[in-house]
């Protein structure tokens, strides 16, 4: 027995010695994929809102004869939901998928058959449970899910967060503070016990066509939280509408980045020696970019930005974290939106629907960008999943998860 323990210890030493790349832009509590991805799950909004929304399963196993095709769709049983973001449970057996226009939330099992997920629970009125509306980010905690919400139940600010057990029982609700009422993304850096949330707009605004939006009805703050206490410590200011929160993936590094959608900029946030966080604008993405998504490479070297309005994906070298340098750009198609980088950092899947009230293209797709060892981006000409030819017609492809 003792010999076995020593062997185990040596194995840990060996594992620790090697560089282990991990999937980025996921909660650090999510179990990582052991090998290359086989399936890509895509949240899909029926384009005209008349047919049921669904989750599409795309075969991304290179050796498979159906590689690059939708091999299954899981109907959500209702229309007009605007299914948006998704998140893994910590054990990677379930996907939580919520809606921005309805009050439904779906818990989907992918463990029994990853190719044919099934809904195991639907919460029909999440607002009745939480007093909030519009779940956005699904962030796994051990045995639980932490969700951000864009609005209160009436569609107005403040938004907030709600924490659930993995089987969907409410643990607690945390409303945004009155002086920083807008919510959007959340990301936790457990090793420094800090959590940061960002700010978008509320249902009262985003449910209208983009041309009718009140561009002042949105946030320009990041909130720094004591993660353990779920208590706001600081309010930081950025350009309008900071969206994704991306911590450095390096252990112990208390800094990261966010993308300001209306400021066309990347902002750096970091902790000083006094323990306080501050922000500064570190990259100008070009007027009219509308950076919809921000992703990272697993080695912490590059940030990837999707310019939704400019139809361009940019790679920024952040070797010097507070001085990003534009490294490369690529055009994957019109209105690129969500991106998902693989654990080895070599591939990035891209979709092109942002929100039914904001989309300006009627061609929806999932495409693939290869990332070279030099960090250069190249669109795969053979991988093009057409989201306009489902039996129900066209569907808006938005968020993605890999399995």
């Amino acid at each position: 027995m003792s010999r076995r323990i020593v062997i185990a210890a040596v194995l840990v030493v060996l594992v620790a010695a090697g560089a282990v790349f991990a999937e980025v832009c996921l909660s650090p509590y999510v179990k990582r994929l052991a090998g290359p991805e086989k399936f890509l799950y895509v949240s899909a909004v029926d384009a005209d809102g008349r047919d049921n929304d669904f989750l599409a399963v795309v075969d991304v196993s290179l050796a498979s004869p159906t590689y690059g095709r939708v091999v299954h769709t899981l109907g959500l049983g209702s229309a007009g939901n605007e299914p948006h973001h998704m998140g893994w449970s910590d054990d990677r057996t379930k996907i939580w998928l919520g809606a921005l226009l309805s009050k439904r939330l779906f818990i989907i099992d992918v463990a029994a058959d990853p190719a044919r997920p099934t809904i195991v629970k639907t919460i029909d009125d999440i607002s009745a449970v939480t007093g909030l509306h519009g779940p956005h980010t699904y962030y796994a905690l051990p045995g639980r899910m932490l969700l951000t919400f864009l609005s209160s139940a009436d569609g107005n600010p403040p938004g907030g967060m709600a924490e659930f057990t993995n089987d969907g029982e409410l643990v607690r609700v945390i409303k945004n503070p009155v002086d920083s009422p807008y919510a959007y993304d959340v990301a936790v850096k457990p090793d420094v016990n800090r959590m940061i949330t960002s700010s978008f707009t509320a249902l009262r605004n985003y449910r209208k066509p983009l041309s009718q939006w009140d561009m002042k009805d949105g946030g320009n703050t990041l909130l720094v939280w004591d993660f353990k206490e779920r208590k706001v410590l600081q309010t930081l200011t950025t350009d309008p509408v900071p969206l994704e929160v991306r911590w450095s993936v390096k252990p112990g590094r208390a800094y990261g980045w966010t993308n300001s959608a209306l400021g066309d900029s990347i902002w750096f946030f970091g902790q000083g020696k006094d323990g306080k966080f501050s922000t500064k604008k570190v990259a100008d993405l070009g007027k009219g970019c509308l950076p919809a998504d921000l992703r990272q490479s697993p080695d912490d070297r590059y940030l990837y930005v999707s310019c939704f309005m400019k139809s361009e994906i940019q790679a920024w070298d952040v070797s010097t974290p507070d001085r990003p340098r534009l490294h490369d750009t690529v055009v994957a198609g019109v209105s690129p939106n969500m991106m998902h980088v693989t654990g080895d950092g070599k591939r990035m899947y891209v979709t092109n629907s942002l929100l039914s009230t904001m989309d300006y293209s009627e061609k929806f797709w999932v495409r693939l960008v290869h990332i070279g060892p030099d960090g250069r981006l190249k669109v795969d000409p053979f991988f093009d999943v057409d989201f306009t030819k489902f039996p129900s017609g066209s569907a808006r492809a938005h968020d993605m998860l890999l399995n």
Partner: protein, 209 residues
């Protein structure tokens, strides 16, 4: 004696590697210069599902009989190559901290449940416990046959999947249960920091009961 020395060597090796990496997980708080929360307010997550399992001596241990104690519950298996011994070592360090604070043995109980009763006989589990210098007066290693263990694992969402190499894939969680039998914190095995767990336990012991 030899066994103890080997166990200590294993512990030293494990501790030496702790700040570097945890397989696929980031390093724990220890690497960040002590970002600990001294007086945490822990939400009530849910009632801890009750169970009765046997210890390595064959005596039944019923969770609800431990009301009045703070319980830290983990799920492990002894042939696990990386995560389980690392976790058990951290629990051993926690046992030491609790003992120094005169909280162990006493108002805190540690439980380690094997998810692999087929290979982890009572004797195997007992030797594993000894190798980590677990004090049986407050740290119990539990096993039962599959028909009795299975429902317990289900209630804790502790699914198991045997891999081709014989390893067992299972959720990497620890449960902190308060004196009223409620789950108050769930830790990730890879990010478990025994220093914060110690503070969490102290906070629960300060609560009126």
């Amino acid at each position: 004696m030899r066994r103890r020395r080997l166990g200590a060597l294993a512990a030293a090796l494990l501790l030496a590697t702790a700040p570097a990496a945890y397989g696929h997980q980031p390093a724990p708080a220890a690497s960040a210069g002590g970002r600990l929360t001294p007086d945490p307010s822990l939400a009530v997550i849910r009632p801890a599902p009750d169970f009765t399992l046997a210890d390595v001596n064959g005596a039944d241990v019923r969770l609800s009989d431990l009301r009045g104690s703070v319980v830290l519950l983990s799920f492990i298996y002894t042939s696990c190559a990386a995560a389980c011994p690392l976790l058990t070592q951290r629990m051993a360090v926690l046992q030491g901290r609790l003992a120094e604070a005169k909280l162990f043995p006493g108002p805190v109980t540690l439980l380690s449940v094997t998810v692999d009763p087929e290979r982890d006989s009572a004797a195997v589990l007992a030797r594993y416990a000894q190798a980590f210098m677990a004090n049986p007066r407050g740290w119990r290693f539990l096993r039962s046959e599959r028909d009795r263990l299975g429902p317990v694992l289900t209630r804790y969402d502790e699914w198991t999947r045997r891999l081709p190499d014989g390893d067992i894939d299972h959720p990497a969680r620890l449960y902190l249960i308060d004196r009223a039998g409620r789950i108050r914190e769930i830790y990730n095995l890879g990010l478990f920091d025994e220093r914060q767990a110690f503070l969490d336990i102290q906070a629960l012991l300060r609560e009126p009961h």
